[in-house]
Symmetry: C2
Subunit: 324 residues, 2 copies
């Protein structure tokens, strides 16, 4: 093991991505790559689904969380960590911290669903509720940092987190080095940034493609304008993609990603239904965004071998978009 | 390849089961065996799920259908086959027949859901509608046999079908020979009969266990009484298990199966929800019956290594039992 690198450029090398993978392997599942003849026919392409819905905690987020915690432990004596999330990163950080014998404090809005709070608790995370505003959650996280000495870990905008997320695509390219494209959904940008690095380092002319709901197309607009754009609303079924890029994820996307495909809400729901019905996989709406992008823009994918990162499978079975 | 055996006893040997497997391997998927740490903890046992929901056509039924068609082709010149089913066997026989260059006629009640008729058609099966009574469907199947020379294949009560169904457990025991129990749902009894043969031939003291909805517990009562019992109603969410045993499946169960566990409707729905939420697998209610049995009778399973045959994943996403 080496010390944590000190400049951002150092972080992003083939070696640092490989090392991230070696560090986290004892703590994660090597998820399978699934195929579907029916979806291949529909897309006119050969599709390879990296099934991170089978990952520990139900999403790829455990990869980045584990990597960040291991790096943190290498660099300083932190007994605890803190983040603010009501989504998959909350569960992932709790689980990763427990595996590494650390305490995770998870700041959640007081209106977060009970099922999500219970999931964090069941993984050993300490839930701290706050008012449902950005200011309140940042203040609460800062208080916990100050009072407990816990280190703050951002769910996506962190070099160590995004390197960890890139290991899903690294595994995919290890077994399928011939892929022409890899499609990943983009919210905060951690997964797409890591994926784009894996493509650059380990692909053979493999193009990373982002997939984003039209309703929250901040990443698409950010790449156009050259600065980090916000969203006016967060009204999408893909609840994991409502966040925006940050100062760590955006430059990686600027450098490595040329294409982001935006999809409509009904396309997301249709793609989700296809994966459930044809592949028998429980995937969350945010995951379906990647397949929706492939089906929306067939010209870009026809005849290719395309990887799709199925980012997670944490859904509320009592509120499915197609069960009405 | 050998000729079709001529007496029932001949059918059921380790060699005949192995040969069934060799014959169908080119036409089926080798489905994965999945595990869940959370469900292991809940059951107090190590569980191995044979994921036939990933099988071609969405269920194990393709195994028996393919085996029956290959044996038929060996024994006589049959251009077509006919069955009556509105469930998974209808799709399986259509798909198997297409793979083998044969025509499948599927007799379905005229009130069968459109989605099921379309699934059969999409696999190349010829749908023939009839009145929704037992008499009407038998008369219609007989007419097709007579007029087209097609051979009738029963969905479960057929030695070649039940041998084919046993190949799922054969595969499971190939990779996990140490299993103490294998649990399979029982409806017509084809899957449980084949599973019990696989346990007897290839297990090391491995006990086959049947799992049945209490609402349609004909198999449980049949084993008690020593004759084939009927059901008074078919009111269960496990729509694949509403059928009853036949003269081929019943003797095999009598010889090899000592235990059938009956489960309540709410236990089935809870088990189904657990598999969806914790394992991220789309499984149908009939499949969940096996896990429900393990959770209902922990004394029988605690500390064991137990296989569970996940029979299929064909569900109507617009009518899920827990989305209310």
């Amino acid at each position: 093991m080496t010390e944590t690198p000190h400049t951002p450029e150092d972080h992003y090398t083939p070696e640092s991505l490989k090392e991230a993978h070696e560090l986290i392997v004892p703590y994660i599942h090597r998820t399978p790559v699934m195929q579907s003849r029916q979806l291949n026919e529909l897309a006119g392409a050969e599709l390879f689904f990296k099934a991170e819905n089978f990952q520990r905690g139900g999403s790829y987020k455990i990869r980045g969380a584990t990597h960040a915690l291991i790096r943190l432990r290498q660099s300083r004596d932190a007994g605890g960590v803190v983040t603010h999330s009501s989504g998959n990163f909350a569960q992932a950080l709790s689980l990763a911290a427990r595996s590494l014998g650390m305490q995770a404090h998870i700041v959640m809005p007081e209106n977060a669903p009970k099922v999500k709070r219970e999931a964090v608790s069941s993984y050993g995370g300490q839930v701290v509720l706050c008012a449902p505003t950005l200011e309140a959650r940042e203040a609460e996280a800062a208080r916990i940092e100050r009072e407990t000495g816990a280190a703050f870990i951002h769910p996506s905008n962190d070099p160590m987190v995004l390197l960890g997320q890139g290991t899903a695509c690294l595994e995919l390219l290890e077994t399928h080095p011939e892929l022409d494209r890899v499609v990943a959904p983009v919210g905060g940008g951690g997964l797409l940034a890591g994926t784009s690095l894996a493509c650059a380092f380990f692909g053979r002319d493999c193009e990373p493609v982002g997939a984003e709901p039209l309703a929250v197309d901040d990443a698409y607009r950010s790449l156009k304008s050259g600065r980090i754009e916000k969203n006016e609303s967060t009204d999408t079924v893909a609840d994991g993609l409502r966040t925006v890029l940050g100062n760590h994820t955006f430059p990686v996307l600027q450098r490595h990603v040329r294409t982001i495909i935006r999809v409509e809400e009904d396309e997301i729901i249709r793609a989700m239904r296809l994966v459930w019905e044809r592949m028998k996989l429980v995937v969350e709406p945010s995951s379906a965004v990647a397949l929706a992008a492939v089906l929306r823009d067939p010209g870009l994918f026809r005849g290719t071998r395309t990887g799709i990162v199925i980012s997670g499978g944490n859904v509320d079975l009592d509120n499915l978009p197609f069960s009405r």
